[in-house]
Assembly symmetry: none
Homo-oligomer: 198 residues x 4
DNA sequence: CATGAATGAGGTTTCATTCAT
DNA sequence: TATGAATGAAACCTCATTCAT
């Protein structure tokens, strides 16, 4: 309808794409706004038509990442399966998702570090954990209720699962020769499942 | 040779202590050399008598940390116990060690992030994983050999254990209200053990 | 020639009105062209259809101001009065005029400052003084010639009058609680008149 | 006593001298910090060891100016003279002082302009007027009390005197060919005195 | 051994101006 | 005529590092 289709969303994504790439390559502080502008195919000044400042890029990138991951964690279609299959499916989806996001790992750890002194970042991460638990806890509870699992504490199990995801990813991050992300996530998950089967 | 031969070591540790503190509080990039000097009770110029430059502090701090953690991982006294008890002991020691190092977590994640583009940091982290595996693999193997554990792949189990350590720590890092470091590490380890007992 | 021949004048005044307001509020350098555009209800780009550049606004505004003040200083109807009444009338008109222009004072002092390094501005101010003297000198001379005033130097008196106007305004500019513009201008003028009456 | 005599005061004055010069030549906004550094014979970075930021220079310069002018306005030795002589002496001192400060006039008017939106600057100017009145009012009152002057309102007279000082200076600022600072201040003051003599 | 004054390269951000639509 | 997206020069300020004392 409007003469020029709204260019803002396009530009913002263009800039966030570029920022992700440059941050991953150089780290947040070594990344110069000019690098990002160049990578985005825009000029330095144009960046500031669409973002507030450099820090703003952090929150914007986090938002985009988690929006994607939250969709990934949707458990709509897990209800019909056994708890075990639902967890395995979930694990498989997460492991694929993490692999696709792997280019963002350097950024991720920088942001984790930031979370210790930046309340906004901290909040985003807390929300992430919350979402995760809301997705997984009911499935585990269902397994316990149905007698498929032992009488475990669902929250402890959910956290152990999450630890396997995050921990394996972290190990993989610093030794990609020794660790194979989906294989070792799957192995870890299976070990946990062995531990909770009735 | 110099009048007080160990004034150097004393000063270096003084500086690294200060750097750890300031890095943890402000992050590597926001930390000013002047902050570190002040925290160390020295002057800016004096710092440069004992360190090469700011980047040098990263490697020096990592070295100090891992020297400590490596001692922690020594398995000298694990040989006489059952594999299960040995792993539980190990887990308990690690969980305590991590807790003591928790003030360094913000630095740790910054360094993980750095590992993606700094070969020296990467090497330190690889060595760490190597050390860990060398400590834990024989214990697991012993458990398998003695029939205490199922016929699992020791490396997969070792990595799952490490993932529990690192992953729980990471989760704790961003939600210390929900996660209790040693309780949830212990829970995770127990779940894994349940999964591998014969 | 163009469909609405005087849209240009209308737009230019629209822009100068906006510029006066914004300059007075923020000062010349803090005023952004965008602020002026917004205040004028136009777009940034449109401004440049009617003005050369930001500096051009200074001269245009000065021109408009002095055109107004020159009309104010017209002494057409002073000829029939006594020199004293003529001067009092003149003072009263000026004092009213200054009060009406008071919203422009912040700009005025910025322009005075500019006069020291901008020849165009300097010329405008010199012309202003010239105009003033041409209006007032004959009246004073008439007062001397008619014996209404002592044998004073008309130029010295004219300058003292001007100093009272400008000086009181300046004092008022930085203490509007203590100084009341027309009251203190009138008081000053009366003191001067007392000094020159024969 | 101390190995290096305190260098701070020296540097600060060095910087303020340079800033006055550069501000007077280019105006506050056109003056680049680098210009000031160069003029001061220091490096850009060194400036910031001694001043907070560019704005800080404004207040510091004002402070230095007014400290000087306040000393000028001291009326210690005016008590023994007739009120008329005291005022003439005062006027003469002020006129000399203004002439010496004339290089700062471009700065002064820029600061006057600033006063409209900067409370700190406003306060400095108000204090200045206060000081002035405290110096001059008692002298005028004495003249009234002794019968040397008519029954005038001392405050109105004081303000008229100040207006003559400030107004003549302003006129001189934009036409130094037509106006001669001390001659025309003296003339103005004499006219006022003629007006108030009993 | 220790100091801290001085340096200056480098990065973020702003904003006057242009021009395709 | 009017727009507003895009540009890029320019300037403030920081801070790691050096070196004379």
């Amino acid at each position: 309808m409007s003469p020029r289709p709204d260019v803002r969303d396009e530009r913002v994504n263009q800039i966030l794409d570029a920022a992700e790439l440059v941050f991953a390559q150089k780290g947040f502080n070594q990344a110069r706004m000019e690098d990002i502008a160049e990578e985005a195919g825009l000029s330095k000044g144009t960046l500031y038509l669409y973002i507030k400042d450099k820090d703003d890029l952090i929150v914007s990138i986090l938002d985009r990442i988690f929006t994607g991951v939250f969709e990934l964690m949707s458990t709509r279609d897990l209800a019909e399966k056994s708890a075990t299959d639902a967890l395995l499916d979930f694990a498989s989806k997460m492991s694929h998702g993490y692999q696709k996001l792997s280019r963002l790992l350097p950024i991720a750890y920088e942001f984790f570090s930031l979370a210790f002194r930046n309340p906004v970042v901290q909040k985003v991460l807390k929300t992430y954990l919350q979402h995760y638990l809301e997705s997984v806890l009911p499935v585990i509870q269902r397994g316990v209720d149905s007698g498929e699992f032992k009488e475990v504490d669902p929250q402890e199990v959910a956290i152990a699962f999450a630890a396997i995801f995050e921990g394996t990813t972290l190990l993989w991050a610093y030794n990609q020769e020794l660790i194979h992300l989906d294989q070792h996530i799957l192995a870890g998950v299976n070990l946990l499942l062995e531990g909770i089967w009735a």
